[in-house]
């Protein structure tokens, strides 16, 4: 085993270590400030204070409710999709995947525009003589669960749908020949596929719901619905209480870390080993017939699916209507020029972050695969651990840590030097999860071929890896770019108010008199995200996500 004692293995560790340090160092500094500024008794007092306990309880309970809702309705809405024609399925799947990458502030503002007391649909319902059942939810603490679920259920159901399609059609044919009813088919064929994905997504949505700063800042209802993240933001930006922020930051990190590790170690949504054999028409007709064993069930599932698509589409449609209506009335050119500098700031964060993420993910993934190939499992695990460190650090806590690192913040410096690397650290785990399966499937064993052919490593990278991985790397770049473009909490916390990004400008406009102008930015963000996600989906990156 003489190969791969190259610089690249070292580079991978250096790269992963730098990004892990960016994630961890702020936490260490947060702890330091906490210990320096606050006595142990004071920390305990703060921990038991009503506001911290209240934030903690609300954070966990809303995340738990979201996870339960996702794990129940995700599978139901996925099964419902089998009752629809191909064209609708295609539309529905694109919508469901796009909704996951949509900025939470777009969804939240869209919910008010669509379902608020004076929203588009509320007015329509009132006109028809009905009352709006959702407006009461919009102004309650459940609004945040509703918004989070609306972003997670569609994606979860889309993935479950794709997984069900991956079941080899031979299994369906056997079930068909045996004349199995809907319950045995569900138990033996579908449930083993649905269960891991539903559990995985329950965990993922739980983790994502622990943040949700963007949605909460628009749909929040005061102290009753204050998450740890919002409390941390308030402690820094309104109370100037850094010790309180330190306590909240550490609690939030510990909580996220605990649940992230629990999710990673207890379960992963492993791909189906044998893959699909492509006989999709048979699979559809079989599942369709199985569902028809119980007409009520089939109608109910189709109903769930339609309602989900309608609810997912409604806030986005409301944002479009508001933005286009405004553009119709006003000089849209002038308005767009107004957000030009915000777009430049956002691009300034997004492009370097996506580039760092893509390069880092590539270097780390190729080194990881080679360690596995060499059976150096501990080294591989070490590298993986470093690369995934950031998954345990919530973005707001990371941002607070960065403020502490530069001793109480110069936001212009934060914006210039820290935001992009921090965004890269946050998106790295997602990028690795997209790139790793592709790299594994295309390059396992090629190391030996490289040696036989006598290629240098650099020639191999240039001639073989770059040619083969160009599309997956573009996918990684685009998904990282979408995530960075829409990231709200870290950017809000660290960006300089004199040069705000798109997300911060939108939040500022939402907090002013300017609903329709914020809809223009929401529309811009939504359009950019859909374009990126559509590209991602077209490249079949969905299977690896």
């Amino acid at each position: 085993m003489t190969y791969w004692k190259s610089k690249h293995s070292v580079t991978s560790f250096v790269m992963a270590s730098i990004l892990a340090t960016i994630s961890l160092l702020p936490l260490i500094y947060s702890l330091k400030i906490l210990m320096a500024d606050t006595s142990a008794t004071e920390v305990v007092e703060r921990l038991y204070s009503g506001s911290v306990l209240n934030s903690l309880a609300f954070t966990i309970s809303q995340a738990f409710l979201t996870a339960v809702t996702v794990s129940i309705f995700g599978p139901l809405c996925a099964l419902g999709l089998f009752s629809f024609p191909k064209s609708y399925r295609k539309f529905s799947l694109t919508l469901r995947i796009a909704s996951f990458c949509m900025p939470s502030i777009v969804v939240a503002s869209g919910l008010i525009l669509a379902w608020g007391r004076a929203g588009f649909f509320s007015k329509a319902l009132l006109y028809l003589g009905f009352s709006n059942p959702i407006s009461d939810i919009i102004y309650s603490p459940y609004a945040i669960v509703f918004a989070n679920a609306l972003m997670s259920i569609p994606f979860c159901s889309g993935i479950i749908f794709k997984r069900i399609l991956e079941i080899p059609s031979a299994q369906y044919k056997s079930a068909s020949m045996l004349g199995l009813g809907s319950v045995p088919v569900f138990k033996t064929l579908l449930w083993p596929v649905i269960k891991p994905v539903a559990v995985y997504f329950a965990g993922l949505s739980f983790l994502l719901s622990m943040g949700s700063f963007g949605a909460l800042s628009i749909l929040g209802t005061g102290p009753q619905s204050e998450t740890l993240e919002l409390a941390l933001y308030r402690a820094v930006y309104y109370d100037g209480d850094w010790s309180q922020a330190g306590v909240l930051s550490v609690i939030h990190t510990l909580l996220c870390g605990f649940f992230a590790l629990l999710m990673i170690t207890s379960h992963s949504a492993a791909p189906i080993k044998n893959g699909t054999n492509g006989d999709l028409s048979f699979q559809f007709s079989f599942i369709g017939k199985t569902l028809k064993h119980s007409r009520i069930l089939a109608v109910m599932l189709a109903g769930f699916s339609i309602v989900l698509d309608f609810l997912t589409l409604s806030p986005l449609a409301a944002v479009c209507a508001e933005a286009l209506g405004f553009a119709w009335q006003e000089n849209i050119g002038e308005r767009l020029l107004g957000i030009e500098s915000a777009a430049v700031t956002s691009l300034g964060f997004m492009l370097p972050a996506a580039l760092i993420t893509t390069v880092a993910a590539w270097i780390i993934v190729r080194a990881y695969c080679r360690y596995l190939y060499e059976k150096r499992y501990r080294t591989a695990a070490g590298l993986q651990l470093l690369a995934l460190t950031s998954i345990i650090i919530p973005p707001m806590a990371l941002a607070f840590g960065i403020m502490v690192v530069q001793s109480r913040a110069d936001l212009a410096i934060s914006q210039a030097f820290f935001i992009s690397p921090a965004l890269a650290a946050i998106t790295l785990p997602f990028a690795i999860s997209v790139l790793l399966p592709t790299y594994e499937s295309r390059f396992s064993g090629t190391n030996q071929s490289r040696l036989i052919l006598g290629l240098t490593e650099w020639t191999f990278i240039k001639k073989v890896e770059w040619t083969t991985l160009r599309t997956p790397l573009a996918m990684v770049f685009s998904i990282s770019a979408a995530l960075c473009l829409n990231e709200t909490s870290l950017v809000t916390m660290l960006s300089d108010p004199s040069t705000p990004a798109l997300t911060t400008t939108m939040m500022r406009l939402m907090n002013q008199y300017r609903f329709n102008e914020s809809a223009v930015i929401a529309f811009t963000l939504m359009f950019a995200t859909i374009v990126i996600v559509y590209y991602f989906y077209k490249s079949e990156g969905l299977d690896h996500a």
Binding site: N54, G116, Y237, R408, P497, M510, N511, Q512, R514
Partner: protein, 341 residues
């Protein structure tokens, strides 16, 4: 040869930049609504820059509370020269922070004397009264129009107004904090009971005034916590009497907006001349007609006609800064405990 050309070009660019930035820059922290396109900021900036050979750079935050928080973060590294938009609730904290220099502008005998407590560090530039705005076209779930409440107590206790008021979070909003002072001034010892009543009637607690007000004008709720002068804006600009200020017999809490010069400012003379400029008659008229607050100097010239139509409260309430500073935390905690349930 090419290198020399590039070098010359770069030097020219750099020198042109340095020549371009010879005029002084006055950095002003203020609130969003002041510098928005319909606010007084852009016009005042144009007028001041015309005479001062300087540039004004606005840095906007949500409101007075957010500005103060920004100052706390900046500490002594603040790049701002002037802070504009501090009201009584935040002004009380100014002394304890120690960030402000004495303004050097003498106390004026003016319209706010009865309810404003003078500070040598802050210069008042407009004032108004907290009030609930009422949407006269708002309908209840059964389609009937909402009744106009007759008093603060009526608004806070009648079942028909349950989940109908948009208020602001006193932890992040100056108007939200102002409401607590108003309730404390009216209800005194029964303040906590009043908070419980308010809790029943509140539809949403917004982070700041703008957010709540935008929801109100969209028709999401029939009442919003605002200023009595908000009615003048709707009458004058939108030519509508749909949105009206509710004037209650219990009285209304006065709010005075002030500006101050930061100790760390390197342009103190320019900053002082800006504060003096704010108090000139023309600037006061601009502020009144674009910030929709009353001018602090006694002038009625060129004021929007709506100012003479809207009602002024018969009873004006205010609390001393020392009382506010002493009790603010407790009152806010009481609010937080009530609204957490």
């Amino acid at each position: 040869m090419l290198k020399i050309k590039y070098l010359t070009l770069t030097l020219l660019l750099v020198s042109s930049q340095s020549f371009a930035t010879t005029s002084k820059e006055l950095v002003i922290y203020t609130n969003d609504s002041f510098v928005s396109e319909w606010g007084p900021g852009p016009t005042l900036k144009k007028n001041f820059e015309r005479d001062c050979n300087c540039k004004i750079k606005w840095i906007a935050a949500a409101d007075g509370a957010a500005i103060l928080a920004r100052l706390k973060i900046d500490g002594l590294r603040s790049k701002a020269d002037v802070v504009l938009g501090l009201d009584d609730s935040t002004a009380a904290a100014v002394d304890s922070l120690g960030f402000f220099a004495e303004s050097g502008i003498p106390k004026m005998s003016n319209a706010i004397e009865k309810f404003h407590h003078h500070s040598p560090k802050l210069v008042p530039y407009d004032f108004g009264f907290y009030s609930f705005m009422f949407d006269t076209e708002a309908r209840q779930k059964d389609g009937k129009l909402f009744r106009r409440p007759t008093s603060l107590d009526d608004l806070l206790t009648s079942d028909e107004f349950s989940k109908s008021i948009l208020i602001q979070d006193p932890r992040s909003s100056a108007t939200g904090l102002g409401l607590l002072f108003w309730l404390k001034s009216v209800y005194g010892d029964t303040y906590e009971k009043a908070l419980s009543k308010l809790r029943q009637q509140a539809l949403k607690v917004g982070k700041g005034w703008s957010e709540s007000y935008s929801l109100f004008t969209k028709g999401e709720a029939p009442f919003v916590l605002s200023y009595s002068t908000s009615e003048a804006y709707h009458r004058e600009v939108e030519k509508t009497s749909r949105f009206q200020a509710l004037i209650f017999p219990e009285g209304h809490y006065a709010v005075v907006e002030s500006a101050g010069i930061l100790k760390t400012s390197k342009n103190k003379t320019l900053a002082k001349s800006f504060l003096e400029f704010l108090l000139q008659e023309k600037s006061q008229q601009i502020i009144a007609s674009m910030n929709w607050m009353y001018p602090v100097i006694a002038t009625t010239k060129n004021l929007p006609a709506a100012f003479s139509i809207i009602q002024k409260p018969n009873k004006i309430l205010s609390l001393a800064p020392s009382i506010i500073e002493k009790n603010r935390r407790t009152w806010t905690e009481q609010w937080e405990n009530t609204f957490r349930k």
